[in-house]
Symmetry: C3
Subunit: 346 residues, 3 copies
């Protein structure tokens, strides 16, 4: 597997909304430094975090109105990256531009388009609407992972690992023992695992007192790296979700570079909305669960990097979803490399 | 000197016996990750520490009977590295194999064969029998050294350095001032330095109260990287070792990668066998002595790596042993690269 | 801009005088390890800090009279790098030489010539005479900067940045708003900025109680990397420096390697020579000022190293001095690469 090239003409999560404000914030995304901020009217904006003059870090400068002033020699750039002021001279070279990236706040996250700005279309933002739907409440956070982003995507598209990695929270033998079904729908990959009459995993017991349950995992992958999991568990045979648990595990993975990524995650549920203690419990348990993944993924990354023999990976039936998702992304990357590339992954 | 290629068809020390048990232990050897464990009947075993499925670290999994279960998706591997279980499917791909390495416990250490398993022959394990001989008692340990393993081998084949590096324990002017003799015998290199009527070095005084001594150093190199030193000191002219000191300094150096190694060492002696305080003294003094080497070797490694001019090393008479040893190993590496390579270094 | 090659036939500052004595001190200069020491009669000397025998670090050895004894096998080298002693043998191979570098103590610093020793000429040491002139008193120090040395040179040749980086000490709006003049004189670059009737920056107020001043900055670059700044400020229109402030900011930047350098600096003044509290104030304020630069420069270095698109830098009028200086150095490097290179940059 080649893990080396990133899709650019697509939306990645750049930050959580509360991280970006009337100050300058640096983020590395697909190998590029980005400075993020909000204009006086609250719009999120992003420029390349490299002054075109001498490569100083714009994020170490200051925000002057809606302009970013470089902290080294004071050049100022507007929200489009155009230089609008150079101290000591009136003429501004036409080439004195910082690259501007389209940015949109949607579904509780701030998204950035790292490719050709002319192709940026908000309609292409992955549908993660359950992050922002009335009647649902959200907990979440962001993790830094020292592994290629595709390893995190693989992880979320084959939940077999819950049995082995997460037996303290959401995993038990039923997960690994139950086959999955996988389907490619356009550019999406859908994976489904339905377990009937199975013991509830530890966290389901704690959250809803469930014992023997029917359990559904409906996974939806949207390129380049969003995975939402419709997770349901209710008393076996009851077909009554009101007695059970339903939440979406929503995940968006943003490459920092080829060997690290930021992992944005939420759990959004439609029961006991006002139970703060429950929200805290879910947050803490899911965070602990994902930290178990981080340990596995970081070790995996090191073993991939150091593999000198380069034998092909051996796939099993449970990999069908992740292999399909890699193919979708690979195909989009290849399309993007074409001279006459069309608009994003539409 | 090229420090870049490792001999594979040979035995390296992989661990001390007590380090390996009913748990999974990771070691990096000649650039490869290895997972070591013992079967229920106590046999040491080793597999490549990379799951053939998705390169997860098997050593982060669990031991189930005599099988290693990957901690990520639960594939199980037998002691030969064959996959014997995949959750959720009955058919096991023939290629789903982890590499298995021959492992043998001998001479107080666990040895591993990193090359072609068909060529592994216990008779090729270097003769370090004094590590495990009745009437001798052993102290020892393992050091991590951030230097190429050949630099440690060089160090042990030219003890001239004791005068300059180890004047607090085993070195004094007599060592450097006395010429050595060197001889290649088959694939072994023997170096001998005999000092007559010389002051005892500090540690010899502390251990046996010696003053003026005859001192022998009989060094035996066996490829790829074992060095045993028959060290003797007794009252000058007495020819009576019972009044003196005799021990073997036994050393086996295992490459981790091109710039680091594990250094397994023992001192095995044939006097005052039950004197625990003496054992502790010898252990502590020799450890302190070898840590002096580590400091020198790590600085040397950095200066070799950063040398841009690449002038040849200038050798002196005292280097004859180490130069011979390098030639033996180089010749074996070249033989191994031949298509019809014979069995090991037999 | 290519930042990759160093001028060798020139003088770099290797150390402050009090750092070098009757002990062995290691310094990395233009990518090479150097061991510095003083002979019994106080002369500074420098050898390559790599034993020609096996690349051990000579600086970990000992000084025996005026000879450096390697701490590994005891070879001894005289001040010219010639091996004069090998334990256990009388014959010394002719090639057993450590490289010796010409070293001179001048203008309060120790200078080293990293190129062809035959071309070393003390007359080529940059004129930093105000470091050592009766009637002037000096404070100073050395900084380690994780950035290419040219970025520090650029910094000092365009003081526009004082407005944005150093507003707490020596910068205010007047600096950036006032144009500079630049001139190439032989191999030197001179930059001048004269500000009339401008508010004194904070440090000038603290040091001399100045309010509205005429302020001069006369910058002199001497290759490869010395910059002295004749800084003057006096009551506006008075033309009377005795009521004002005059000091030289003297700077010499020595490459460690392509991504780091040592930055030697002094402030030498001709007023209130005996005021220790004032000396301490100036030292502390200038150190804090330069640490602001270090932060900017280190971020800049990272952004240059990670720039994948390689667009050219966009220069402005204020860059004229630094661009000229880079050209001078580039031309000298190209001359040095000629087979029949003449003597240094004379």
């Amino acid at each position: 597997m080649e893990l080396s090239v990133f899709l650019k003409n697509c939306w990645y999560v750049a930050a959580e909304p509360q991280e970006i404000g009337r100050h300058l914030t640096q983020r590395w995304i697909v190998g590029e430094p980005v400075v993020l901020y909000r204009t006086e009217d609250g719009q999120p904006k992003a420029l390349e975090d490299r002054c075109p003059h001498r490569r100083a870090s714009l994020s170490k400068g200051t925000l002057v109105g809606d302009e970013v002033q470089c902290g080294y020699h004071g050049m100022r750039f507007d929200t489009q990256g155009r230089c609008v002021h150079i101290h000591g001279q009136d003429k501004i070279p036409a080439a004195m531009c910082a690259r501007a990236y389209p940015v949109v706040q949607k579904w509780r996250w701030i998204w950035i388009w790292m490719g050709d700005p002319a192709l940026a279309d908000e309609a292409l933002i992955p549908d993660l609407s359950y992050n922002d739907t009335p009647g649902w409440t959200v907990v979440g956070g962001t993790l830094h992972v020292e592994a290629n982003y595709q390893l995190v995507v693989d992880n979320l598209l084959d939940l077999t690992h819950e049995t082995f990695v997460h037996s303290r929270t959401i995993g038990n033998a039923a997960v690994a023992d139950t086959p999955m079904e996988s389907e490619v729908i356009g550019q999406e990959v859908h994976v489904r695992r339905i377990m009937q009459g199975t013991p509830a995993p530890p966290l389901f017991k704690r959250v809803r007192g469930l014992q023997t349950i029917d359990r559904w995992q409906l996974i939806r992958f949207q390129p380049p790296s969003s995975i939402s999991i419709d997770a349901r568990g209710y008393p076996a045979g009851s077909d009554d979700i009101s007695q059970g648990l339903r939440w979406f595990s929503i995940n968006a993975i943003t490459p920092i570079d080829e060997r690290s990524c930021r992992y944005y995650w939420t759990i959004t549920r439609c029961f006991d909305l006002d139970d703060q203690a429950l929200s805290q419990l879910i947050h803490d348990q899911i965070l602990a669960t994902f930290m178990e993944d981080v340990e596995v993924l970081q070790a995996q990354q090191k073993l991939i990097e150091t593999d000198q023999r380069g034998r092909p990976e051996i796939s099993v039936r449970a990999d069908l979803g992740s292999v399909s998702a890699r193919r979708v992304v690979q195909r989009l990357i290849e399309q993007e490399a074409q001279p006459a590339a069309g608009a994003g992954h539409a």
